[in-house]
Amino acid sequence: MSPLNGSESGTEPPGLAVVLVAWLLVSVPLLWGVWQTIKKASALFR
């Protein structure tokens, strides 16, 4: 397989750690938002 001249894909592909960190960075705020919404929604069941 020949390299992609000048392309960023010619460098090392992202490792598993990079993928996990990327997922963590989007999951944490999303889970925080979900938690805040659940707290708010709990008023409906009181």
């Binding site: 705020p29 999303l30 929604a41």
Partner: protein, 472 residues
């Protein structure tokens, strides 16, 4: 800089992990999903001059309602106009432009609040922000479909779930920021807009720079495209965007999305007052706010759940489920009000919202099944004008019918019934449209040499001598 953003530069190598693309997509959709939480600013924006209460000269709710409407209209327009450019420019360039529009939109709006000039907010959040919304919405979807041909529904559902999730983050975050910045002389909106603009600009740029596109001919390891069947809707061929909009299936799907979104807005627009008035004395304002929060959660969950299910049962069957269960659930709402069952009312409403979200998330995969993956971003962009139309028609329809009924003596608690029956009727029409969707006639498919010619023209217009060999 142009080279740094070019599509050719981000063609992935053979060992690229495609699971890096969904978080990049989510970073963008979680940011633009803020649009659904704009209502947080409605009350503070009516007190920019008076601060503690509205003063003469302060903006009215009717003036402020236009901000969101303009943004949704420009979402559809920009997605339709720039969708084709996205396919040519690639997701990084398009993502960067979306980030700049969205971030800059907040900064201009902050200036509008500081100068108390509503036109600057219309221009900032409405026009520029709306363009950021449109480009930001279609950019990840088109890229994910190309990376996940084996799970198109799940992949696009993941990104579009982010759009629903963005509101869940933005609503409490904006409230925190408003509380932090509020003072004796300021309602804190301008400062909150600047802070949000910085956060979203950074998040969206990060997402845009993580994007890679698969090399031509790439397919997931061990995956073979399913054999096409004569009557099946899934094609391996490609329809050009200019031809797609000449076909009947495009307009049928446009109608399906328009009707599904219009009906969903019927619930979203009226959720809080509806539950309080239908169950007077039993559901107070804080519980109604909780109900709205619950709807947002199910709206988000439906985006991932239904679109993932569509990979198994097919898009047409998934929409048939939405559009057949939907009318029953809409009719259940007034019934639940009549028998006084809050539990039945809430259950029906949250199910409806899963289908509202599911409708958004499943449509890109439906389009790629019918028109192929090559121009799906551009075709999806044009179809999103249905969202804009529903964003204007839905609230107008819902509010007009309610006002008309109340003026004619209908008790407030029953003034929603006609609207719900109307929404059920819209979904029945949507069901028929979905039923009529057929494969595109042969004459619209591109010949192999046409695709090759376009690929070569594209390569000539970019970098010469690029050697791509990225098949797994």
């Amino acid at each position: 800089m142009a080279g740094l953003l070019s599509k050719e530069r981000i063609v992935a190598g053979p060992n690229f992990n495609r699971w890096l693309v969904p978080p990049a997509a989510l970073a963008i959709h979680l940011s633009i999903g803020q649009a659904y939480a704009f209502s947080v600013f409605k009350l503070p924006l009516t007190k920019v001059i008076g601060v503690s209460q509205s003063a003469p000269g302060d903006w009215k709710q009717t003036q402020l309602a236009w901000i969101f409407t303009i943004a949704i209209v420009f979402l559809g327009l920009s997605a339709a106009v720039f969708g084709r450019w996205l396919e040519h420019a690639g997701p990084r360039k398009s993502g960067v432009v979306a980030a700049c529009c969205w971030g800059l939109g907040f900064f201009i709006s902050a200036a509008g609040v500081s100068l108390h000039n509503i036109w600057l907010i219309y221009l900032g959040y409405g026009v520029l922000g709306g363009c950021g919304l449109g480009l930001g919405y279609i950019t990840p979807v088109s890229t994910l479909i190309k990376w996940f041909p084996d799970r198109r529904g799940m992949a696009t559902g993941m990104a579009i779930m982010g759009f629903g999730g963005g509101a869940l983050i933005a609503s409490p975050l904006s409230q925190l920021l408003l509380d932090r910045y509020r003072s004796a002389t300021s309602v804190g909106v301008a400062e909150t807009f600047v802070t949000l603009g910085i956060i979203y600009l950074a998040a969206m740029l990060s997402g845009a720079f993580l994007f890679r596109v698969p090399a031509p001919g790439w397919r997931p390891s061990g995956w073979l495209p399913p054999a096409p069947s004569a009557r099946g809707l899934i094609t391996h061929r490609q329809v050009h965007v200019d031809d797609a909009i000449k076909t009947v299936p495009f307009y049928l799907l446009w109608a399906v999305l328009f009707l599904n979104v219009t009906a969903g807005i019927g619930i979203l627009e009226q959720a809080s007052p509806m539950i309080q008035e239908m169950f007077k004395g039993r559901v107070r304002a804080d519980a109604a706010a909780g109900f709205v929060g619950l709807l947002s959660l199910f709206n988000m969950a439906g985006r991932f759940g239904w679109s993932s299910l569509s990979d198994r049962i097919g898009r047409k069957a998934t929409y048939a489920l939405f559009l057949s269960l939907g009318p029953i659930l809409y009719v259940t709402l007034p019934y639940a009000g009549r028998i006084g069952s809050v539990a039945l009312f809430v259950s029906a409403a949250v199910l409806i919202l899963t289908m509202y979200g599911g409708g958004f998330a499943t449509i890109p995969a439906y389009l790629s099944d019918i028109f192929g993956t090559h121009y799906v971003g551009a075709i999806h962009g044009r179809l999103l004008t249905a969202w804009s139309a529903a964003g204007v028609a839905g609230p107008v329809l819902v509010n007009y019918i309610r006002e008309y009924q109340i003026e004619h003596g209908t008790p407030a608690g029953q003034a929603y019934n006609i609207t719900m029956y109307l929404m059920a009727g819209l979904l029945v029409v949507g069901f028929l449209c979905n039923l009529a969707v057929r494969p595109v006639p042969d004459r619209y498919y591109m010949a192999d040499d046409q695709l090759t010619d376009r690929a070569m023209a594209s390569a000539r217009s970019s970098r010469p001598c690029m050697d791509i060999d990225g098949a797994e």
